[in-house]
Symmetry: C2
């Protein structure tokens, strides 16, 4: 199958690197960064493009763009890994809609379009007989979407409950372990690249809430939005509150919770026993899925990072290759 | 799709109960217990059969058998959940071979045939264009096969490392927490139904070793057998050894380890830091998958139990319905 990739940040480059070295049978026919694009219907020379990008910062022809690829290039799957805008979803949203309308599968790490418009995108995909892969939008490398859709198929999921934001988990871990203040821990997280210059989305719980909305809409076909999430962040958590909790063998974590049957969604700092399975360290994510038959299944892993996100993109690509290739 | 079920122990009954209550689109056309069978090509009355089984201990016609179902009934998927014989694989092995040879998909919880003959069974399935689902053979409700095959597709798995036997984990947990001797903890495990009357397979590490062999052969197409596993059990672990470990904030767990690149497999009691993600309590299982892109992904859940095994069977059934139904 032929793959077009929009976005050559760390994730896009990571996907390209794996496709250059592994025998996946996937051919990359187009690549775009924010300023240029390359289209080669027989397959681009991935290593040459990566080298050029590294040397010049530009991957291809300045007269071509991501939009040109979407509308005119020859591909079966669009990999959309441009930066996220969680308010409008653009420009990714338009790229994804156009690709789906052309009957192309889409794989994306872009939270904006999926959180804002999944029901509509899913409808277009269904009409055209294609699928949208978005494993990379929730919990990075943890295959939570695959697990909910396939691994635990047949189960009634009572609750999804977990640590979905690594930045907050890092800050709370450091406040607990080193008695840092919130401000000190946030500064450290920034210096280490775990928090953005503007950390609002992470620390206010919005990033975790977005992931709940994606799960609710995409796995359970609900039609909810960010406003439906009861959302509190970690910026009011004090070192003293954590110390008090730890005296009783508890600690504080930012927990995201979704109850599919009612659509109830909540993100808030909560007390958990210190030996609880969901108490993970530093930037790890941990999700417990509570079910009727399988009991509780917990998944732990890295929730962010370019290679980790590339891993999720690849698993979606390979699933589409294995189960949705109409040419075989 | 039409489903035939061999075996009406707790797992088989659990699968039937879910198929009776959920709208899966799967029709049960045949059921066998060890003494009798029912065949109804338009679909059996599941609730009536379960009631009859409960009342009389027998599900159907004494002149019919599991073998009759396999060779003559009308079904698309054979669910094989008869008791396991890990030395010969029989009679399950013959049932599975015959069903595959007839071009039927097979879903099984039966470790024997999969551990002993996966390469051969896989070959028959491939020739006939059908698949074998065996999620239930490794770690009960934890979707480890799905995760390795699909969720982490595109990753190079460096190591699988974890607690694959709940009985041993229960015994070691109780020895650590309550200072029980090995004999006392084993007795307790038996009384609670966590250990068999003859616990040899569990406590000698053979059950965990069998699961490694299944993963090695089925996920990585190796061709290994139980003799290739370097295997030690927990029967030589003393309360004193655990106490010594705990003094240094370590504890002892029976760890199964597989390195796909070399085929190296080992089961042995090992020291782990007490706050290690794989230190789970009682009968839980925990598996860490170490990869190049996704980093370490850990899955924790119930590794045994009839509903948990039924959950794994169902996920295989639904995957086959969704991706291998040739009638759609």
């Amino acid at each position: 199958m032929k793959v077009a990739i929009l976005g050559l940040g760390a994730v896009g480059r990571g996907v390209l690197e794996v496709l250059a070295t592994q025998k996946t049978g996937l051919v990359v026919t187009a690549v775009a960064d924010s300023k240029s694009a390359v289209i080669e219907s027989e397959g681009i020379d991935i290593k040459a493009i990566l080298a050029q990008k590294k040397d010049s910062g530009i991957c291809g022809d300045l007269t071509l763009s991501a939009a040109d690829i979407v509308t005119t290039a020859d591909y079966d799957i669009l990999v959309e890994v441009t930066p996220t805008d969680v308010e409008t979803g653009e420009p990714a949203l338009s790229y994804i809609k156009e690709a789906l309308a052309r009957g192309k599968h889409v794989v994306t790490s872009n939270k904006g379009p999926i959180a804002l418009h999944y029901p509509e995108l899913s409808q277009i995909a269904s009409t055209k007989g294609v699928v949208i892969g978005f494993e990379a939008t929730v919990c990075g490398a943890i295959p939570i979407i695959q697990t909910l859709r396939h691994g635990l198929a047949g189960n009634d999921v009572r609750r999804v409950f977990g640590v979905l934001n690594g930045t907050c988990n890092y800050i709370l871990t450091r406040m607990a372990d080193e008695k840092l203040t919130y401000a000190q821990a946030l500064l450290e997280a920034r210096e280490l690249g775990y928090a953005e210059a503007d950390p609002t989305y992470d620390i206010k719980g919005i990033d975790a809430a977005i992931k709940l909305v994606i799960l609710a809409n995409a796995v359970w076909n609900l039609n909810v939005s960010l406003n439906d999430v009861d959302c509190a962040g970690i910026d009011q958590v004090t070192t003293e509150a954590i110390a008090l909790a730890e005296e009783e063998d508890y600690t504080i974590r930012l927990i995201a919770e979704l109850i599919p049957a009612t659509g109830q969604m909540r993100v808030a700092p909560r007390l958990l026993p210190r030996n609880h399975t969901l108490i993970v360290q530093h930037t790890l994510n941990a999700v417990a899925v509570e079910t009727d038959l399988a009991g509780d299944i917990t998944l732990i892993g890295k929730g962010a990072g370019s290679l980790e996100t590339a891993s999720a993109i690849l698993s979606d690509l390979i699933f589409i290759r294995d189960f949705y290739d109409r040419s075989t």
